[in-house]
């Protein structure tokens, strides 16, 4: 009983001494630990959602890649008129033009970047829908020494 009274007196004396705070370093440590704990909890909450988002992103990329039109290899008719060293370059991204089938072999090739209405490509044998024939694109034309086009690709 006396011990209780002594403790009570001591607490009253402490209270009368004014407000007291924990030392600064203790407070900082406490805050740090609280933030760390809180972050772990947030991450744990978001992990399933992030996993789903990443998986969906990968699936979308794979679908886009598979759906993307691939450049066609140069058919034999055009390949015969494109010198071997140029074939390596040309078949990477160029589409052979039907009108190039019969042109002589390439001696020197040049690439011309042109800006043209889509309808112009019809004149070179490229099938183009009428609905957007007036639209414009930039394209690279692979020309031979005679200035006639062998192949075309869309500019990047």
């Amino acid at each position: 009983m006396n011990e209780n009274l002594e403790l009570l007196e001591a607490l009253r004396a402490l209270a009368a001494d004014g407000p007291r705070e924990a030392p600064r370093h203790v407070e900082e440590q406490l805050k740090t630990q609280f933030r760390r704990h809180s972050r772990r909890r947030n991450l744990a909450a978001w992990t399933p959602a992030l996993s789903v988002a990443v998986a969906a992103g990968i699936a979308l990329l794979l679908w886009i890649e598979s759906a993307r039109p691939k450049p066609a290899p140069i058919p034999a008719a055009v390949a015969a008129s494109v010198a071997p060293a140029l074939e390596e370059e040309a078949d990477a991204s160029f589409y052979p033009l039907p009108e190039a089938e019969a042109l002589p072999a390439l001696e020197n090739a040049m690439v011309v970047r042109v800006h043209l209405p889509v309808s112009s490509l019809q004149l070179m044998g490229v099938p183009v829908g009428e609905e957007r024939a007036d639209a414009s694109v930039e394209a690279d034309l692979l020309l031979g020494q005679d200035g006639l086009a062998r192949a075309v690709r869309l500019a990047q």
């Binding site: 008719a77 010198a83 001696e107 020197n108 639209a135 006639l148």
Partner: protein, 259 residues
């Protein structure tokens, strides 16, 4: 079939590009011409011919006959030169490309191909600048590579036309006739596409070629005014008052930086 699927893919890509990319065009449309030249350069690995210098004027005439009976005719000219080291210079106006005509007539473009220095240059006379590109290691051209015949093709007939003299050179001729059987492309009758080529082994170049394709038109390419003396070395160098800018070739992925 491969060609058709490739072209359908290109058509799809064109449609997508026109829908999402460029609309009426950043240049405001190609105007009265069929196209507008943005820039030009040599196309990747050009073959190197050493020890056969020449200068010549090249003329290409393209004629297309319309269903109305009317004709579209285009002519392009180029000045060509090659020195003993295999360096070449081509000065060409892109006023037309086959059946297509350029919007502004096509300013002349000078292209220098220098396998000795592994460089190619495109000169712009208006701005006095030269776009310089590093070219891959060149290879020497095997003799008479042009005499190859189309490989693995059915319905292709090759005829030897013998030897003639053209422009003071002995040239070897061949005629390749490629037949598209009736019905293959929706055609009622067989279509014959004929190409005649006259090649000079001495010059290692085609001196004349003619192509007749009923679907698209006829073209005649001819080297005229051929001189076989060593050209002026200055033709194969960038003029001193030009500013040289390094650029990335279009042939190897995308446009040059800053363009």
């Amino acid at each position: 079939m491969v060609r058709r699927s490739g072209l359908i893919s290109l058509g799809t890509a064109l449609l997508a590009a026109s829908l999402f990319g460029q609309g009426p065009g950043r240049h405001g449309g190609a105007g009265p011409g069929d196209f507008e030249v943005v820039r030009a350069e040599f196309g990747g690995h050009n073959k190197v011919v050493e020890g056969a210098p020449y200068s010549a004027q090249a003329v290409t005439q393209f004629t297309q006959t319309l269903s109305t009976g009317d004709h579209i005719q285009r002519t392009t000219n180029a000045s060509m030169a090659r020195d003993s080291q295999g360096r070449t210079r081509t000065e060409r106006s892109f006023g037309s490309i086959g059946a297509l005509s350029a919007e502004h007539g096509g300013a002349p473009t000078v292209m220098i191909f220098d396998p000795v220095a592994s460089k190619s240059y495109v000169l712009d006379a208006r701005s006095h600048t030269a776009r310089s590109m590093t070219i891959p290691a060149a290879r020497t051209r095997p003799a008479n590579e042009n005499a190859r015949t189309p490989r693995g093709q059915a319905n292709v007939k090759t005829e030897d036309l013998g030897t003639q003299t053209m422009q003071g050179l002995s040239v070897q001729g061949k005629r390749v006739t490629r037949a598209i059987p009736a019905g293959k492309e929706g055609n009622e009758k067989e279509i014959d596409i004929v190409t005649e080529t006259w090649y000079s082994p001495e010059l290692q170049a085609v001196v004349m070629s003619k192509t007749s394709d009923p679907r698209f038109g006829d073209s005649v390419y001819q080297l005229n005014a051929i001189t076989r003396v060593e050209p002026d070395p200055a033709l194969f160098t960038v003029p001193a008052d030009y500013t040289v800018k390094e650029a990335r070739p279009m042939m190897r992925g995308g446009p040059p930086p800053g363009q």
